[in-house]
Amino acid sequence: MNGNIFVNFPFIVVAILLALGFYTIGFKRNLIKVVIGVEILEGAVNMFIVAVGYIKGGYVPIYTQAPQEAVGRMVLPTPQALTLTSIVIGVAVTALMLAFAVNIYKHYGTLDITRVRRLRG
């Protein structure tokens, strides 16, 4: 019983973070908070990938000079590589979004997305 909850714990956190991220993107009016919402979503997805790749009691994935007992019990390196890539991409996306936010503040004088509405129709 106890162990079961512990195994699923990362996934529960992922679900909570996803809900939080979508709530932030959907209902917050400040542009910076929307950007933070996208970041929370990204954190959730990254955590999901790492959690998927984890093996309980696994070894670090180094194939050369690995100890004998590690053979067959290594954590897969792919999910960690994926997470790294996705973090790098996420930083680029955030930087660009914040640059846009700065520019919008310069032109509109506000970050309230209900008042940043020159494009309509």
């Binding site: 993107i25 542009l31 929307v34 996208v38 979503l41 990204e42 997805v45 999901f48 990938i49 998927v52 897969l76 792919t78 999910p79 994926l82 890539t85 996705s86 991409i89 680029a92 996306v93 660009l96 979004m97 846009f100 936010a101 520019n103 919008i104 310069k106 032109h107 509109y108 940043v116 020159r118 494009l119 129709g121």
Partner: protein, 517 residues
């Protein structure tokens, strides 16, 4: 040389993008450089298409001694990044390279007065890289990476005119939509990875068992790609982005949108094609989404005053035709008699409509860009009597408007007729909606034509002249393509479209890594 083509397709524009910022003080030079690079990718993509159509699917493996080695020695699963090019991917690659080339030529004068051109061209080539990577890759995570490259480059270009607040507004809308969509793609990829322990499209497709978790992954992928290609409930970013982007970027941005459509087809046909039962339902969802998209898009276009915005809403409505055509094909995918009867033709209509639409919508958006270049406004009520001042733009506009409304002998007619004929066989109601949409499209373009080009010459446009040569050349190339594709649709259909459709239908061929494993 030939066997390295898939890698070169991505490497050449990427190289071009990294070299471009070095031309900081030479704006003419960077324009020429962009035209050179994009032009050479056109040649590469034509070679690639020839190779794929004659010799079948091409597999390129990164990190192996020979490009044809798929599996590492001693393992039974593919662990390397693979590019797998079938006819559908080659078809999209031709569209992407051609449109980037046209966009680079058009930009030569269209943006010459703006600052930061070296970044503009670098982003243009980066966008091309992203599209090409998306359509050529055979690896799910790679698809996500290139999706993000295209999304970031595209939204940076949407916000290129950063002295206008509206451009930043449109840019951040596009970026948030694309970031959320691609994060959900990554989530679905992680789900599939957790299930099957691999990222290779073909490998997962062979092993897919369609349990509950797979259904969630399919739903996430379907929704995200529909969001990125501007299907109706998630279409709100399209008009803003297409309106604010410089007109020279419109063609590659259109292709970027349809690269997401390609990914949608790839997911529903290749990735989940082994699932027999539920695929008809997915096909129906796609068809109904298509009908809704085309109808809502066109009704919103009718009331617009901004000429580029009007055309952007038409872009949404035309996406509906492609969804309808391919959706009809997907509905009958596992019913061989119906598939041979009308499913294959419906998909040909949908796929043919992609390239046709890219051509004439780029043409129309470019004429809108030319109007903006000359008059300095996009408001239809402030224009008038421009037909005598800008004869070539007027003729290009008429060709584009006739093509988008589906008048013979222009290219829109050829693909729309295929869609009408075949969707009628599935359900007549679908055809009724498609035809009403066509009529409404024609109506709104008559409105544009009357208010912008006809009427008495206005005082304030007295000394305006035709747009400069590079813009004219780009528009004329596209107008000629419109007419050629309309006059000889059979050549394009036989050489490019039917091979692409067959590549989608014969998914088993894709699953076997092009006959290697």
């Amino acid at each position: 040389m030939i066997e390295h083509l898939p890698a070169l397709m991505v490497a050449v524009p990427l190289f071009g993008a990294f070299i471009a910022p070095l031309f900081k003080k030479h704006y003419k030079g960077v324009s020429m450089w962009a035209a050179l690079i994009t032009g050479s990718t056109v040649i590469l993509s034509l070679l690639l298409a020839k190779e794929v159509v004659t010799n079948g699917i091409m597999v390129y493996v990164f990190g192996a001694d020979k490009p044809s080695i798929v599996l590492p020695s001693g393992y039974a699963v593919p662990i390397r990044i693979m590019f797998e090019v079938d006819a559908m991917g080659a078809f999209m690659a031709i569209s992407a390279t051609l449109m980037s080339f046209i966009g680079a030529i058009y930009s030569y004068t269209h943006v010459e007065k703006e600052a930061g051109l070296e970044k503009y061209y670098a982003l243009l080539m980066l966008l091309e890289t992203g599209i090409l990577g998306m359509v050529l890759t055979g690896d799910l995570f790679n698809l996500f990476v290139f999706l993000e490259i295209a999304g970031i480059a595209g939204s940076a270009l949407v916000g290129f005119r950063n002295y206008r607040g509206e451009a930043s507004e449109a840019g951040i809308k596009y970026l948030i939509v694309s970031a959320v969509a691609s994060l959900m793609v990554l989530f679905a990829v992680a789900i599939l990875y957790g299930q099957y322990g691999n990222l290779n499209l073909a490998y997962i497709a062979k092993n897919v068992s369609f349990n509950m978790v797979d259904m969630i992954a399919l739903g996430l992928l379907f929704t995200s790609f529909a969001m990125k290609c501007g299907a109706v409930p998630m279409h709100y970013w399209v008009p803003d982005a297409y309106t604010e982007v410089p007109a020279g970027i419109n063609p590659p941005l259109l292709v970027a949108t349809y690269a997401s459509l390609y990914a949608l087809f790839r997911v529903s046909f290749t990735l989940f094609a082994n699932v027999v039962i539920d695929l008809a339902r997915v096909g129906w969802i796609m068809s109904i989404l298509g009908v809704l998209t085309m109808f809502i898009g066109v009704t919103m276009a009718l009331v617009q005053k901004d000429v580029k915005r009007l055309m952007s809403y038409h872009a949404i409505s035309q996406t509906g035709y492609m969804l309808l055509g391919v959706g009809v094909g997907l509905t009958v995918l596992h019913d061989p008699s119906k598939l041979a009867e009308f499913g294959r033709d419906a998909m040909a209509g949908g796929v043919f409509h992609i390239i046709n639409h890219i051509i004439y919508k780029s043409l129309l958006l470019m004429t809108a860009g030319a109007l903006f270049y000359v008059t300095g406004t996009r408001n239809l009520n402030e224009m008038g009597g421009l037909a005598r001042k800008m004869p070539i733009t007027t003729i290009s506009f008429m060709v584009g408007a006739a093509a988008i409304s589906g008048l013979p002998p222009f290219n829109g007619f050829a693909s729309k007729l295929l869609i009408y004929e075949t969707s009628y066989r599935l359900n007549p109601l679908l055809t009724v909606f498609a035809m009403v949409t066509s009529v409404l499209t024609l109506a709104s373009f008559v409105k544009v034509f009357a208010s912008a080009f006809l009427g008495p010459p206005l005082e304030k446009f007295q000394e305006k002249r035709e747009v400069p040569k590079p813009m004219v050349i780009a528009m004329v190339i596209l107008a000629v393509l419109c007419i050629l594709f309309g006059l000889f649709p059979n050549i394009v259909l036989d050489k490019l479209v039917y091979p692409a459709v067959d590549a989608l239908i014969n998914f088993a061929q894709y699953h076997s890594w092009g006959g290697l494993a």
